[in-house]
């Protein structure tokens, strides 16, 4: 199979970029794979790429490069196809519109994969007849603005498949969007086995990792650790990550007198050796669209104590078997979950073993197989036969009409409604 990924910027750092490389690198062992990056702002990608994966860009934003296009007048004009409700809208332009359309109208592939809603809209509208169109959702439907959801209702019926990272989000797509003939599948993000030995469970450290952002609720974790310290002053907490909450969290640590017990470690890269220094991982978020750090910690042999927040944790952790789910926003419950594992060495080791085993299902090879099976299904459905093609395009026409009907209903909600029938 020839598989072509379309991504915002393959040269940056972020969850979607990392998981796209994981998937593309693995698929490339069996298939012909390319990653097309809309933007390119630096010379080399940050993440390791299988040399078999071809990588190219559509718009060059490397400052000082002879091909620099950041000052191109067309790039200064707003985008019309890329949806306005997308958080990345400001980075798109008439130039990206034209280049993406040019790429999709000639793309030489059996499957085209979009990696964010705005690009999925391009895919739905502009991919030449033939390749199967797969739109990935790496966040969640509910996290999008009303304007963007309306836009997606208009375009997504023309996709062949939508993938989400959780079953919860797949259910949201199936029930809140009308997507006749579009396969909606939950495929979790992949996490490779760490290149180091798993944690041995002897270190008296709890480890957390993520951006120091309000949604991560590290304030709750620090308060919970105050309760942990009262009972087990021999255990300590490391929080890896940087972000705007740092000063606030620092202040809270000092106010509670936890400066010997809670360390703000700053960003760590790679993170695997840091997980391996701990014996328990903690996640106290109010929302996790997937929960990549939970899987990372489990792959390093740590049982995770996590809030049972939407959407991912409950689908990753088998409560009481390979980790512990606790109610969202409850300091006592978080402390209780941590102390349960701190105070019972045997239980902690048993859960650590289970975490290692259970997290194998997120291995890139397994996740690539899931995608492979979805792609195969779509390619044989769309097929290369004439009948298959006609059927495929009929489904798209019908989908497009239904999408328009939805769009009309939603038109009052958004000023972007008019563009829908294009």
């Amino acid at each position: 199979m020839q598989i072509s990924f379309l991504i915002h910027n393959a040269y940056g750092i972020g969850g979607t970029i990392r998981t796209t490389y994981n998937l593309a690198n693995t698929l490339a062992e069996q298939h012909d794979v390319e990653i097309v990056s809309v933007l390119r702002h630096r010379e080399e990608p940050v993440f390791a790429r299988n040399p078999r994966v071809r990588l190219r860009h559509l718009v060059d934003l490397r400052k000082g490069s002879p091909g620099y296009e950041g000052d191109d007048p067309e790039h200064l004009k707003p985008a019309r196809v890329f949806p306005k409700g997308e958080i990345r809208y400001e980075q798109y332009s008439a130039l990206t519109d034209r280049r993406i359309a040019g790429h999709l109208s000639t793309v030489d592939a059996d499957v085209v994969v979009g990696t964010r809603p705005g690009l999925n809209v391009h895919l739905a509208r502009e991919t030449r007849r033939g390749p199967a169109r797969v739109g990935q959702e790496h966040l969640t439907l509910d996290s999008h603005s009303v304007g963007l959801r309306t836009e997606l209702r208009g375009a997504y019926p023309r996709l062949d498949a939508v993938t989400t990272t959780t079953e919860a989000d797949a259910t949201a797509y199936r029930t809140k969007m009308r997507l006749p003939g579009v396969r909606v599948e939950a495929v979790p993000n992949s996490v490779p086995a760490p290149g180091i030995e798993p944690a041995d469970g002897t270190g008296k450290w709890v480890v957390a990792a993520g951006r120091l952002a309000p949604v991560k609720r590290y304030d709750l974790l620090i308060r919970a650790f105050d309760l942990v310290r009262a009972e087990r002053p021999d255990w300590r907490l490391r929080i890896y990550g940087s972000g705007k909450q740092k000063d606030k969290l620092r202040h809270l640590i000092d106010e509670l007198g936890l400066y010997n017990h809670v360390l703000l470690m700053g960003a760590a890269n790679p993170i695997e050796p840091e997980w391996a220094k701990g014996s328990i991982a903690a996640v106290t978020s109010s929302l996790e669209s997937f929960g990549m750090t939970i899987v990372e910690a489990m792959r390093c042999g740590l049982p995770v104590v996590s809030t049972d927040c939407p959407h991912g944790p409950g689908e990753i952790i088998d409560n009481g078997v390979d980790g512990r789910l606790v109610p969202v926003g409850n300091v006592q419950a978080i402390a209780g979950g941590l102390l349960e594992l701190i105070n019972d060495d045997a239980l902690r080791r048993q859960m650590a073993d289970a975490a290692l085993k259970d997290s194998e299902r997120f291995d890139p090879s397994r996740i690539a197989e899931r995608y492979e099976s979805i792609f195969n299904g779509l390619v044989s459905r769309g097929g290369t036969s004439k009948i298959g093609r006609v059927r495929g395009s009929l489904h798209r026409t019908r989908g497009a009409l239904l999408g328009s009907a939805y769009a009309v209903r939603d038109a009052g909600l958004t000023v972007f409604g008019k563009e829908r029938s294009a």
Binding site: N22, F47, A48, P194, Y259, M265, P270, P273, K277
Partner: protein, 277 residues
């Protein structure tokens, strides 16, 4: 945060040649380090070269073929590595040394490390990424050593808990703050000792304004002066991570703000500055 794919022995291409070589570092609890790098594909013996920032000292370690087409060098705890920052390079034959970048640094055995101190010294080597993203090694060699542990901020006081290595604490032991610019005799703080463990309390009001470095005199005036430092873990630069609240104290010369901090060498010091109203 990202995942680095393991570097396997691939045929080097032009693009690979442009990429700086990456070293994975494994630390053992005795203070030894092992470095793994991918085969260079060039002919000739390859060495790991550690160059001290003073530009004068250099340590060369052979990189020998190990499993999976990788090269391995060992820096055992017994090989002395003078104190300081060492930049890591790989050099094949008499070719140009290439700066190494950090891969996976597995330093778990350094966390909560308790060395024996039996040889009378403590050797610490912590690999770290420089701000330019290169691999360097921070080394300490202390004979003897006084390790700072928990600090307790009181009202106008600082409590310090620690442990000595390679020296015994006698009944004459005390702590001596040394002022960076201060020439007047400094106060002494008595210590409570429990075998190798010690604790003492600094009364901030006894310290004039300035920066005060904390020294331990384990055998009193006649014995060695030992700088109190925090070295025994996996964190190369303590200053931004181990931070402590400052407190305001009234003195005969007006209110001052005082607090402990770790220096660029991870030594424990105290600042006392006039409180700005």
């Amino acid at each position: 945060m990202m995942t680095l794919a393991p570097q396997t022995a691939q045929t080097p291409t032009d693009e690979d040649a442009a990429m700086p070589p990456r070293a994975d570092c494994l630390a053992d609890s005795a203070g030894g380090l092992t470095f793994d790098v991918a085969e260079t594909g060039e002919s000739g013996d390859t060495h790991l070269v550690l160059v001290h920032r003073d530009g004068l000292q250099e340590v060369r370690l052979p990189l020998a073929p190990a499993a999976d087409g990788r090269l391995r060098a060992a820096l055992p705890s017994g090989v002395a590595l003078p104190e300081g920052r060492w930049d890591a390079f790989a050099q094949t034959g008499d070719g140009e040394p290439r700066r190494l970048t950090p891969g996976l640094n597995d330093l778990r055995s350094l966390v909560d490390r308790v060395p024996s101190g039996a040889r009378g010294h403590v050797a610490v080597r912590i690999p770290y990424a420089t701000k330019h993203g290169n691999l360097s090694i921070r080394s300490w060699l202390r004979a003897p050593h006084a390790e700072a542990g928990e600090l307790h901020i009181g009202e106008g006081t600082l409590g310090v808990h620690g442990q000595v290595y390679g020296v015994a604490l006698t009944p004459d032991a005390y702590v001596e703050p040394a002022g960076r610019e201060e020439t007047r005799p400094a106060p002494r703080f008595e210590i409570h000792r429990d075998q190798a463990l010690f604790r003492f309390t600094v009364d901030y009001t006894a310290l004039p304004e300035g920066v005060w470095d904390l020294w331990l005199r384990p055998a009193g005036e006649s014995g060695p002066r030992v700088r109190i430092a925090r070295l025994l873990d996996d964190i190369a630069d303590k200053k931004p991570i181990f931070t402590y609240p400052k407190v305001t104290v009234d003195t005969a010369h007006g209110p001052v703000t005082a607090g402990p901090y770790y220096t660029g060498d991870n030594d424990l010091s105290i600042t006392v500055t006039p409180t700005t109203p």
